[in-house]
Amino acid sequence: MSFWKKLEAVDVRIIFLVLWIAVGIPLIAPLNFPMAVSPDTIKYRDAIEALPAGSVVAFGMDVSPAGYGGELGPEARATATHLFRRPLKVIFLTFWETGAPLIENVWRDPFVAAAMKDKKYGVDYVNLGWIPGSETGMSSFATDAWKTLEKGDYKGTKLSDLPIMANVKTVNDVTMLICIETGTPGGPEYLRQWWARNPKLKVLIGALGVDVPATMAYIAAGQVVSMLRGGRGAAEYQKLLNIVTTADIMGSDAMSMSHFVVLVFLVLGNVGYFALKKTRGSPVKT
């Protein structure tokens, strides 16, 4: 049996094992791979930095626990740290029922907690919790936030008792939207319901890697200012904000290792395919 035939017949569990080992090495001892920061991440940082003091920022925590545990958690925590370092008014909200408890989880991050030390709930930031109805809920909030939130904020405090909400009645009163998105509803739905009503709205997206190609079209069209490209984007942003821990370095090293392993298998698989195609011919007509 030739090398390529042996490789073709390899048990898929061997590949999984190689991946476990390759990813595990940097998680035990960081390898400190160099990391360049992409223009998108710089633009994302600069957009927040350029906001005038007192601007209202809507922070859409539209995430599932799975997305949060992987790429979106670091994105959300880094973004919240940056927002709290600046004199801005931050409105946390979510159109995913799983996102509501994760907002407070973001606040418990040491860097976020340090940045929001002097901020006052209800004045500088607020947690509006879960707004049901998916895209319908987004539309409702965009046209009449107060009516949509008659129940009050996450804890039931009436909006009239929250000074931060005094001048926020519709989406026209929001300067920037930051959407940390797992899926639907997410960026495209915000564009349809919020941006379509207020084209001056500056939109930033914290995307899962899988959503990056779709979001690029909106950036090219000028509807979205910039985005964080998955876990890699989050790591770059942390580097820009100087909030990198050893665990983060280990995580980004593990990411690089996993991509390296996948690339090696990809190349091997393709070379093997063409090598075997030569000997036995391809069953696939192209």
Partner: protein
């Protein structure tokens, strides 16, 4: 640093579920099924409880306390969903479904035209074919990028253009341009696939990082699951052979 009992217990439960889920990569086994069913039950239970809490606060309580009786109509309409399970009265289920679908489609379409059709088309049409920065001068990369966008958009449109006879000169040209579109779509799908792999890897790394917080739970539970999965696999094989 010594961990308290509750934290330790949390780590072990987390590790058990995470490893049970990943044990599918070795083979199907009872741990994976347990994790799969628990996850589904938890997700459905959580979503149900949150939704019920919201409906109770927003609609049921105002009706029961007499504060706002108008909510009685949407609540009753919502109850019609139950007839999904009745063959005889299934048609009643269609009423709330029609309202929800109609509202959703109406809302989505109104925003789609401006946000996803017009803006995207306009942005493509106004792309400059020769990019000059006021300070930096001619921008070669941006110029190439814009040309690529235009060629690829036209190519992809041509690929889905079926109204021209392929034997004619225009038809042949459209088919050739369509090939560019085919390549464009393949590149786009490849990029989407690559990003999907990256996302899955990041999820895996997140779990792996948490698992490594406590080596004993990680190694111990991995060994336990592998042993049980192997024994279960052997038992299933023997049963199959007997049959």
């Amino acid at each position: 640093m010594a961990l308290d009992l509750a934290t330790m217990l949390g780590i072990y439960v987390y590790a058990l579920y995470a490893l049970s889920a990943y044990s599918l990569t070795y083979r199907d086994n009872m741990f994976f099924k347990f994790a799969e069913h628990s996850y589904l039950a938890l997700a459905v239970g959580y979503a149900g409880a949150v939704a019920y809490g919201y409906v109770r606060r927003t609609a049921i309580d105002p009706v029961l306390t007499g504060k706002d009786l108008t909510f009685i109509f949407p609540v009753l309409f919502g109850v019609l969903y139950v007839f999904f399970f009745s063959k005889k009265y299934f048609y009643l289920y269609r009423f709330p479904m029609a309202i929800v679908t109609g509202t959703g489609v109406g809302l989505a379409m109104s925003g789609t035209v401006s946000a996803q059709f017009m803006q995207q088309i306009t942005a493509t049409i106004v792309l400059p074919l020769y990019v000059v920065h006021p300070v930096l001068g001619f921008q070669a990369m941006d110029t190439i990028n814009n040309w690529l966008i235009i060629i690829m958009v036209l190519g992809t449109l041509a690929y889905f253009f079926f109204s021209i006879q392929p034997e004619t000169a225009i038809g042949k040209a459209t088919t050739k341009l369509g090939l560019v579109g085919r390549w464009t779509m393949m590149v786009a799908f490849g990029s989407a696939f690559g990003n999907t792999v990256m996302t899955r890897m990041n999820l895996f790394i997140g779990v792996y990082k948490n698992l490594l917080r406590d080596y004993t739970s990680f190694l111990g539970l991995t060994a336990l699951i592998l042993i049980v999965a192997t024994l279960e696999g052997q038992r299933a094989k023997k049963t199959e052979q007997k049959a």
